[in-house]
Symmetry: C3
Subunit: 472 residues, 3 copies
């Protein structure tokens, strides 16, 4: 038993020599392409302020729900992992102790993408050459900690070293984009753009939260939002502002991708009920369905690429949500339906070549049944890469296996890292490039495509399609 950490050069490639040889060759042709990151959750503040990340635990464990949900699932409390509570009740403050607990349980990540990303990050970003475990924990902590204090590990330095050509953050409709502004005004030339995610003012109009958000949106636009018309205008003005700050896309998270157009009378009435706190849950569902249509119309007019991320039951674990807040690993996927749900939107806008509608998915059974057929027919529809839980070796392989034969490669949009774990971005793109190279190599080995065709496709999947689709 060795404790050395080695990233094998052929990792994630099929062991069959015919496939591996081609996979390696394809991968070599794309490994050094710049990173296009068209959808993610990095914090623009990091790049605006360019302050050092405080310590390994703060960088790697505490912000990453992929990491702590797995530890939690095996009975390790979130308090002991230092996850901050909503009410400020005390949690573990000793970051070395948390790191040790993480290291003691690192075997839980065997066979998971999180394990793969972390090892890649340790080795490539921080030059760690031993495996993380109980014995090595504090040594590795020291090594990372030391580097984080050096100028080479400031956010902008890492961004440049990662060779990120363009990255899009995800921002609320009312967001001031002040950090984006700071970056643009700095002398550091990096393409960091916002994307417009108006979920808080579009979904759940039956809640108090929505009314607060509407008020906030009104304040930001310096106009009272007293009518549906004013609301639509406010959204359009915000989109214009986002575009002026470089945005090329919008994003919409919904439980179901249900679309339905209300009459002007209906939608006005629902909106007024919502403003008065009298909207029902059913109103909320219908309003979101209506707004997806409106947002598609706006995308046709202003050219922003429209993304839909459906199918996640947010905050399934209410105890965790109440105590620790949103995005703590307790969002659980649900069965999703696209064919009926998108009928209204696609019939109204799906044949319009000005619309780019990128669909994401947490329900793999829809890949071959609904998504690939929709993308293989409607000019507007493109398929987003495997999302959350599926941005993995098997998940990405299954995506290509279930989608390609019906939708082809050119109705997919390249890779999204979709992460808030900044230092894992190279790992995620590397994994995606390896898996796609291996998939293409499998087609070459079975004489389904030729090697020169595979070369062109590998570049498209790693770089071109993301850049073109997202207009970056």
């Amino acid at each position: 038993m060795t404790d050395k950490l080695i990233l094998n050069e052929d990792r994630f490639f099929d062991s069959d020599p015919k496939i591996r040889k081609v996979a390696r060759e394809l991968y070599e042709g794309i490994r050094d392409l710049p990173i296009i990151s068209p959808h993610g959750h990095t914090d623009p503040r990091w790049f605006a302020e360019n302050q050092p990340f405080p310590d390994p635990t703060e960088l790697i464990v505490i912000p990453d729900h992929y990491v702590f949900r797995m530890l939690y699932s095996r009975g390790i409390s979130l308090e002991s992992l230092g996850i901050p509570t909503v009410d400020g009740s005390p949690v573990e403050q000793d970051h070395r102790k948390i790191w040790q607990l993480f290291a003691d349980n690192f075997h839980l990540f065997l066979g998971t993408p999180t394990g793969i990303w972390l090892n890649h990050e340790f080795f490539t970003v921080f030059g760690i050459d031993e495996r993380l475990n109980s014995k090595s924990a504090q040594r590795i902590y020291d090594r990372i900690q030391e580097q984080l204090q050096s100028p080479d590990f400031l956010p902008r330095a890492m961004f440049d070293r990662f060779d990120i050509e363009a990255i899009s953050t995800t921002d609320a409709a009312a967001d001031s984009l002040e950090h984006h502004e700071m970056i643009r005004e700095s002398d550091w030339k990096a393409k960091i753009v916002p994307s417009f995610r108006p979920d808080k003012v579009v979904n759940h109009i039956h809640t108090e939260t929505w009314r607060c958000e509407i008020e906030h949106l009104g304040r930001v636009g310096a106009r009272d939002i007293g009518s549906y018309v004013a609301y639509i205008q406010a959204l359009e003005r915000r989109r214009e502002f986002f575009k002026s700050m470089g945005a090329t896309s919008t994003d919409h998270a919904v439980l179901e991708p249900y679309t339905h157009e209300m009459t002007s009378g209906e939608v006005n009435a629902v909106f007024q009920r919502a403003l008065k706190g009298k909207a029902s849950e059913e109103d909320a569902v219908r309003f979101t369905a209506h707004m997806l249509m409106e947002l598609a119309r706006m995308s046709i007019e202003d050219g922003l690429v429209m993304q839909i991320h459906p199918g996640s039951y947010r905050n399934h674990n209410e105890l965790v949500m109440k105590k620790f807040g949103l995005d703590k690993g307790g969002d659980i996927p649900v069965r999703t339906e696209y064919t009926f749900n998108l009928h209204a939107l696609l019939n109204r806008y799906g044949n319009d070549p000005r619309l780019t509608l990128v669909l994401f998915n947490l329900d793999e059974s829809t890949n071959s049944r609904e998504l690939a057929p929709l993308a293989g027919h409607y000019p507007a529809v493109k398929l987003g890469p495997p999302w959350w839980f599926f941005d993995s070796v098997e998940g990405m392989t299954r995506f290509r296996q279930t989608v390609t034969e019906t939708a082809g490669f050119y109705n997919t949009v390249g890779f999204n890292d979709d992460t808030r774990a900044f230092a894992s971005i190279p790992a995620r793109h590397d994994l995606s490039r390896r898996v796609d190279s291996n998939f293409l190599a499998g087609l070459v080995a079975r004489h389904i495509i030729d090697l020169d065709e595979a070369r062109g496709l590998s570049r498209a999947l790693a770089y071109d399609l993301a850049k073109e689709t997202y207009k970056l």
Copy 2:
């Protein structure tokens, strides 16, 4: 980069040498078996009239929605592809120009079964030895065009050369079968039989279209259809006529495979409402559910094999349907349920050994969950081969992987090419034979079955099961 078109002898076989060797051997044993094509959409008129196909675009692009839906999905208009409009408004007439557009975008078919079939067809049927692309487009057009004018490329000559032992077309209940009649009366001895597909007189009884069809059915039978009893008798007489013309099967396309028996009073009342144009959509759903039971009863009596093709949302893209008509690539699958839906039919008729019920599927999640368990228990139930979107390398492989362990091989029914693209028939059977040989070789390589067992199975899957099940 070469532009040579080569069909590798080992294509679609696993690259692992142990598997490939066995796959090749199994395939060699079945590659030259005659073609049994028990379900498809070739036009009997071709074989009745035996006129030359006009040109490559008319043969390959315009009639094949697999081809033009993919081009359309990337923003190429159907008008520019020469797809005729319903109202006769003008579309591109220059078939060389359409062919060029097709060739310019042939890379969209990389990794798709359509790409595989087309290359096979080019190489094997037309002797083309260069890849289709922008440069070669007109040369290839010339080559195909020239051959289509020769006697060797008349429909009957191709049919004979393809070694088709039996083929079944798909025909409406009221169809005169005049072309089948012409074939039977000719001195050309080919087994081309109709199959009875009464969808238009069974589904959507709440529509004007249905009433027209019923009138049409009445005219054909020279008897007014004024009651449910008369309707049933008319169907039975048509089935008798189809049988006399060689039919061995029926086919039923439904959104859901819902079955439910109405009382005689109920069904009479619904039928009368329908005749008066007063049936509701719910009536239509219940009527189809009832008729599936009736049709199963008729199959038990007259011995016609019953096929159900459920789960396609027909004409999802209404704009395309209104402008270009049916079957233009806009049919999108939906989630399908068999266990509850077929309960009534299977409880009434599923234990009867005289019934053969072949179930098809566009929702792969049902393969292992519902279809294989149903086929592995009920004497009547057999599983149709991977249908539409799944008649592909990965699709056919997944079918065997998800079905075999529960249903075995002998509750499946061999291959259906299900195509209206006549010249692609050998390509489709070849692909299926290769994929099944490869699947069996994988079992041999893992010592799950022996080579001699695999040999018997490969023949069953390529020939025997289709012939036996469909009584051809």
Copy 3:
């Protein structure tokens, strides 16, 4: 063509030499570990009475619905297979004739796990070295028959030879556990424990059958069950009794894993209606949903591991059920939903580390979508191994492929053989150990995990996790 029966040493391993070599090595390290069988349906009477099994047909064909459902699906009547009828109407009594029929159709099991288990059982348990077919049928019958009469083939001798360290049977709430008692009082020291499966007194409270079962439960506890409180107490006392007899788990079969807590008033009212025979089907659904919550609460209190087996439409084939009784191969899976259905239970108890909730599954589309995310977050949730229809080479492989990346290995619970076919137990564990070894070898070959990590995992999957999770 040879008729020799050989179990290849490398069976079920990938043929790629890199993977096969590692798989073999991993398997060698675990092949001789004792068997932990935490969930199954062996009859404790066999071990209590230790009488010889009567003959091969009685041991292998008649009790195993995996075997006869496949024969039935190809038109072989259950009567001709000697399956006893409910009303005692005559069935085939000549067990040699039944065995011949089974052998004549043994090709139907090609590629199925049943075929694999049977061959393993023939070869390993009975030393048969020729394939079962029409010619060898009677010779093999003789060989097995002869051995079944010898002391070495008495149930206890086989149990010891199979190296079963612990086995759990499945027993109704009102069961006397008299055979468990006999085993405990014997001088044969084997760990055979009951598990508490109260389905009959929890589900279908709207039926006459339920009222009989409640009466029976009352008699067993010597107390009238006239109220919901008395009912809960009766269940708790039975659980206590089961624990005293060694039980470490409970099991619950439901159509849907729907959970919902009723108020005390509601549940009392529903229970009273049920006692009076006036409960509705909807009452029954809500009562089961409520009881799953109560049973989780009890598990937290008494420490019994809670298992849920949802998603089977029991006795789908009513004709077979009426004529031949329950468990005759006519249970068909249905689409299953966990995210919404388990919300109530998991929010109430899912964060409690005292609860172990093992979820099973007949709907593979939920593996990656719902089950792995739930297990990878909630401390209480663990995933049961591939159940029924999926305890196969492809099924178990797909389980690891779809679950591991999100839930890791340590939120799964090792293998369950879940069988009433006693002599197939070693075959089933062997298959599982081979498939898991091969899966891990695939990870090693692709450098996702290291060989030493794989060694630890292979032992965990074959032995440790089952023992720990089920507290055996």
